[in-house]
Symmetry: C2
Subunit: 370 residues, 2 copies
C-alpha cells in the first residue's frame, strides 16, 4: 500500500474548471495520504497561477499542458474526432499509458464516456460503460445501475452489472459483502422479462461470487432492501428520473403547504434548519465511476462545487486503493462458466395464459389505488 498512487485530473472540465478544481484538490489532499499524487491536465499558465497560493498542494501536483477543452455541449462523435489534445483526452490517456491509476473529470458526460471507451476499451460484453448512481435510503446509500447508458440488456449484461456494482459498492462504502438484487415487477421467479428471469437463474446458481438476494421492486430502491440494485439502462434511467421528479414535486408541494397560512409559515421558519438537513440527505452523491472500462474513470457532475469535486477525487482514490478492479476481473472470469451451463428447465407449472402476471397486476393495482 506504500506504492505511490497517481490520479489524473481533467482540470478544465465542468461548468467552472480550475476555480473549482484547484480548491477541490487542496481540500481532497488534506484527507489523502502523502503518497497520493496528481497529474493536472489543462492550461498550464492558468493552473500554475492557481496553484501558486497552495505550495503544499503544488508539491504533489504535476501540470500537463493541454491546448484545448471539450465543450459541455459537444456531441460525443465530435469529441471523438477532435478530442486529442484536450484536457479530458489527456486525463484518460494517462491511465492507458500507466502514468496514473484513475482519472476524474467534471466535463461533458457523453464525451467522457466515448473517449474513455475508445482509449481504455471495455472489459466485458457491454456496449458502453454502465452509469452507477447512489440513492439515499434509511439504511445507507443504495447503488443503482445501469442508470442510462445501456438501453437494451440481455441476461449476461445484467450479470455484469451485478459484478461491477457489487465491487463498486464495497470499494465506495466499505461493506465487506454488499447484497445484490435484480429489479423486477414482483418477487416471484416467474415474473418479468425473459432477460431478467435468466439473469436471476445465473445469479442464483452461485457460480458468481455475490450475495445475491433475488428480485426487488421499484419501492425497494429507497427502502434499502439490498445494497446494489441491478437493472437495464432504460428502466434504471426512468426509475431514477421518476424518483427525482417525485421528490421535486413533494418539495414544491411542501413549500406551498407551508405558505398556506400564518401558522404554517411560522412552523416553516421553526422547522427550516431540519428541513434543509432533510433536503441535503436526499441529494445523490455528486460523483460516480464509469463501470466496465479497463481503468478507473470517475465522472463528477458538471455544476460541481469544490466540495463535490473533492469527493470525486477521494472516490477515485478509494477505488484505486481498493481491490475494486481485481474483484471485477475475478468474477468476470467466472461469467463464461456461469453462462455456459444452464440448469435444467425448471418444472414450475406454466402460468395459465388466461391469468395476468399476478404480482405485476396486483402490485400495480396497489400502486394505482393505495
Amino acid at each position: 500500500m506504500t506504492q505511490p498512487l497517481v490520479i489524473s485530473i481533467d482540470a478544465m472540465g465542468g461548468d467552472h474548471g480550475p476555480p473549482v478544481v484547484i480548491p477541490a484538490l487542496v481540500r481532497a489532499l488534506a484527507s489523502l495520504p502523502e503518497d497520493v499524487r496528481f497529474l493536472l491536465h489543462g492550461d498550464e499558465a492558468v493552473l500554475t497561477a492557481a496553484l501558486a497560493k497552495h505550495r503544499d498542494a503544488a508539491r504533489r501536483v504535476e501540470i500537463r499542458h493541454a491546448e484545448r477543452v471539450i465543450a459541455m455541449d459537444e456531441k460525443p462523435a465530435q469529441a471523438l474526432r477532435r478530442g486529442k489534445g484536450t484536457s479530458m483526452w489527456a486525463a484518460v490517456e494517462a491511465i492507458r499509458e500507466g502514468q496514473a491509476t484513475a482519472a476524474v473529470s467534471a466535463g461533458n458526460t457523453g464525451a467522457l464516456v466515448a473517449i474513455s471507451k475508445l482509449i481504455l476499451r471495455m472489459t466485458g460484453d457491454l456496449e458502453r460503460p454502465a452509469l452507477v448512481t447512489s440513492i439515499p435510503t434509511p439504511r445507507g446509500p443504495t447503488t443503482l445501475l445501469d442508470a442510462g447508458a445501456n438501453i437494451d440488456c440481455d441476461a449476461e449484461r445484467l450479470v455484469e452489472f451485478a459484478i461491477m456494482g457489487e465491487a463498486y459498492h464495497r470499494a465506495a462504502h466499505g461493506l465487506s459483502k454488499p447484497t445484490v438484487g435484480l429489479l423486477n415487477v414482483g418477487s416471484e421467479e416467474m415474473k418479468g422479462h425473459e432477460e431478467v428471469r435468466e439473469a436471476n437463474r445465473i445469479l442464483r446458481e452461485g457460480k458468481i461470487d455475490l450475495d445475491y438476494r433475488g428480485f426487488v421492486e421499484g419501492d425497494d430502491i429507497t427502502h434499502g432492501a439490498v445494497d446494489v440494485v441491478v437493472t437495464d439502462g432504460f428502466t434504471g434511467n426512468v426509475a431514477l428520473k421518476a424518483m427525482e421528479g417525485a421528490a421535486g414535486f413533494m418539495i414544491a408541494e411542501l413549500r406551498s403547504a407551508f405558505a398556506s397560512g400564518v401558522f404554517a409559515s411560522l412552523g416553516y421558519m421553526l422547522a427550516r434548519p431540519a428541513l434543509l438537513k432533510f433536503r441535503e440527505r436526499l441529494s445523490p452523491t455528486p460523483a460516480a465511476p464509469l463501470l466496465g472500462l479497463n481503468g478507473i474513470v470517475v465522472k463528477c457532475h458538471g455544476g460541481a462545487s469544490d466540495r463535490d469535486f473533492a469527493m470525486a477525487i477521494r472516490l477515485a482514490a478509494d477505488l484505486a486503493r481498493s481491490d475494486f478492479s481485481a474483484e471485477i476481473e475475478r468474477n468476470m472470469r467466472r461469467l463464461p462458466d456461469a453462462l455456459a451451463e444452464p440448469a435444467p428447465a425448471p418444472t414450475i407449472e406454466a402460468l395459465p395464459t388466461e391469468t395476468p402476471a399476478s404480482g405485476g397486476s396486483e402490485g400495480a393495482a396497489q400502486g394505482a389505488s393505495e
Copy 2:
C-alpha cells in the same frame, strides 16, 4: 342521455365488503342522476338488511344473490376455475349479458383481471387489460399506463395504450383533447428501445387521432408535461413503485427532521394541517378502470373507504356516460392502417457506435449527480 344507466357492483369484494359498499352507494347516489340504477351482487340477506336503512337508495337497487366470494388471496387461475357463482363473476357477467354498462369491484385484482378477460374478451391485441394509474402533478392528474399488467410490449401495444389512456383521461377528467407522451430515456428521435421508437413513428404519422407530443422522461410524469404517459407494464410498474418509495422515504425523513429538536417539533405542530393536506394531495386516486376490455370494469383498491368506493362508482358512471368506449373503438379501427404503411426510413445520420445514447447517459449522469 336519458337512457337509464345500470352499474353492476361486486358488493362483497375488498377488505370490508357491504359495510363499505352500501354507505358508498348511498354517497354516490347523491351526486348521480335519478336514472342511474344498480345491480348489487352478494349475500342477499346481508345486503337487504344493510339497505333497509336507506329507502331512497334501495329504490334504485336490485339485489342479485351470489353464494360465494372470491378471497383476496386467491390465485387468478383458481379464481377462474371456481369463480362462477361468486359476486365478482356475476358483477362482470351482467355486462356481457347487456344488463349493465359498467362493473365495479374492490376485490382481488388478479382475479378481477382474469375473470373480466375471460367473460368480456379483449378489444385489441393485448394479452391482458392494461392498468391505469393517476399521478398528482402541479398541473392536475397525469394518467400513466400500463402500470404492470403487460410486461413485454411491442409498438402496436404501446399505441393501443395511447388510444385507451387518452380516451380514459378525457372521460375521467373532462379534458377535450388530452396530450399524450411516450416514456423514454431522452427526447430525441434516435433514443430508446426499438419498440418505443417504432410506436413514436406511428403516433407521429397522425393516422391515429391523438394530440401526441413525443417522448417524455421519468421526471415528466410528476411535472405534468403531458396528460397521458404511455409505457410498457414493466417500466410503468417500476416507475410507479419507485415514485411511491421516494415519497414514502421523504415523508419518513420529514418526520424525523421535525422530531430533531424543540423548535422543529413546534414547527411541525404549527404546520401539521398544511402537511396533512400535502400528503392527501400525493395519494393516487383509489379507483381505475381495466383498459382494453369489451366493457367497462372499474377496480377499486381493496382497503377502500366508503368515500373511495363512492369515487369508483362515480368513475364507472362517468365512463359509461361518456364516449369513452366509442372513442377507443374509433381509433382502434385506424390502427391497422397506421401499422400497415410504414413511412420511408428516416434519413437521420446513424448514431456512431462509439458514442453512448447521449441523452441516456447525459440524463443519467445528471441523475447520478445533481
